[in-house]
Subunit: 320 residues, 2 copies
């Protein structure tokens, strides 16, 4: 079977792609419309899949389907246990989609799918042990070892965003204080910039760009823009963020001993502005035996990593 | 094959045991005499194994042998790459022992063997994902998932003793500053007690017991004894040690998501004096989803864990 379909369900949009071997032959994005419930989304996903197959002349029974869903997933049972973004609880995704499409369907957490795609066809291609992190709204990690995802008990391994660091003062949505993702995430970057400007009264071009109280609309992307204009606040925010992320990654490397660490997700658009201080911190905090054998690289597949990873995961799950 | 031999090579002594099923049928300890080189030790191990087999009436070809060696091990190649304690470099242990005994031989790092034994027959018995740490001269960890050890790239996963924590001021032998094992180890416990008494001038029964400058002879065991006499310094040292160890374990749990965390090694003799603050810190630093599904328990096999784990590892390696 050389065709496989990947479905990357996000809080706002759902991306659907048809892979022909390693190539994305066709793809489409539809609104998730989480408020309308899972069955509405499943109907629209099934219709979109049929449309893609029709356009590419692929028979409806010649595919496998893999789906990435945010939140806690029981990948063995095919159930989305708790997806806060979608307001889903105990949704039997695999059963519902199999009814609609009549082909093998598999699901897993969206970050695992993203890293699976990068490990097989992206920045981790050809590497045995791949640790991937996505720096987006939050921060999460997944490990692919010898082509297999690492799950741990309850499939809960890799919540790198929720290790509390001693020097991080922020309270996290999870209830803990100091979680890495309160700093090392798109929201964390914006928050730190706001704190330096509004709380500490530091001069910054960001103040001019976002004059309103609380700096509404300020994003991590704006901090990168300000960085490129030499703004001291933006430079400090990305350095601090890189240092904390580098500390977390040093801990993860010491536990997992990957061969490569790839950094993706929306906030990774900061690129070397973020990766340079990440590498500096890792070199400082890792035994040289680890540091000398790893590389820290940006993710390579861009927005398509989730769809590609989901498609490959669905294919590989059906083959097992 | 129901007989298997385990060899636990330490810096001072080497323990050798014959397992009959799950029972240690016979065992013996010999001096390692590291200064005399590996071949002397291999000769004496082989003679001791033959002696144990003779005593139990087991034929010399009816066994498998597993060996735990401290340091960095290439377990696939059967080579001890670098064992500082033994002053071994690139010693082909498996080949040399196979020549002598003519049976299947496997080796791995001694901490992995210890945790493997505990996972299969000790405190992790019947549990899918077992994280074990040994708190001895240093601190190290290993993970057994579904009966298999987790290795990572270069077989280097799990150096929990070498994650640097922000509030630890000590320089580590590895070259980093703040490594967890500079505090959470037998040497770390003694060091902290010395610092409180000698550097900070705190009153302590330990000062009376060890009046000499630098408090020579003071061990972690003495700190436990002082703790039991209500000594404030000893209580503070074990609380601090437990807090830092708990922080490291919280990070490890978030990465690996084990079902059980078992704490062994010499300094684990402190028992609940150490485990109580460990658990407190873990509960404070872990998302409740993790905390609620794990237990933190002392290792169960005592001194025999290394020999038992090595024996089972040799048996399982031969069966693969």
């Amino acid at each position: 079977m050389s065709y496989c379909v990947g479905v990357d369900i996000g809080g706002t949009n759902t991306a659907i792609g048809l892979l022909d071997g390693e190539r994305v032959a066709a793809k489409e994005s539809i609104p998730t419309l989480a408020g309308e419930g899972p069955d509405s989304l499943f109907d629209r996903i099934a219709a979109t899949v049929r449309g893609l197959l029709g356009r590419c002349g692929v028979p409806g029974d010649a595919i496998t389907v893999g789906m990435g869903v945010p939140g806690f997933i029981d990948q063995e049972g095919g159930v989305a246990l708790n997806s806060t973004n979608l307001r889903w609880r105990d949704v039997p995704v695999v059963a519902r989609m199999r009814e609609r499409l009549g082909v093998p369907v598999a699901i897993d957490n969206d970050v695992r799918m993203y890293v699976y795609g990068e490990a097989l066809l992206g920045a981790g291609r050809g590497v045995r042990h791949v640790l991937g992190v996505t720096v987006g709204t939050g921060l999460a990690a997944a490990l692919v070892s010898d082509g297999r995802l690492f799950y741990g008990g309850g499939s809960m391994a890799g919540e790198l965003g929720h290790i509390p660091l001693e020097s991080i003062p922020y309270r996290c949505g999870c209830g803990l204080t100091g979680c890495l993702e309160t700093v090392a995430s798109a929201t964390g970057i914006a928050r730190q910039a706001r704190d330096l400007v509004e709380r500490d009264g530091r001069a910054s071009v960001l103040r001019e760009w976002f004059p309103g109280e609380g700096m509404p609309g300020l994003t991590a992307r704006d901090v990168s823009r300000a960085y490129d204009e030499g703004d001291a606040v933006a430079i400090e925010v990305l350095r601090r963020t890189g240092e904390q992320l580098g500390r977390g990654l040093a801990y993860a490397v010491t536990m997992y001993s990957p061969d490569v660490v790839l950094v993706g997700g929306g906030a990774a658009a900061a690129g070397e502005r973020l990766l340079a201080p990440v590498r500096e911190a890792m070199q400082r905090l890792l035994i040289s035996d680890y540091w000398e054998r790893i590389s820290v690289v940006p993710a390579a597949l861009g927005d398509e990593a989730g769809v590609i990873g989901s498609a490959l995961y669905g294919r590989d799950a059906a083959a097992r």
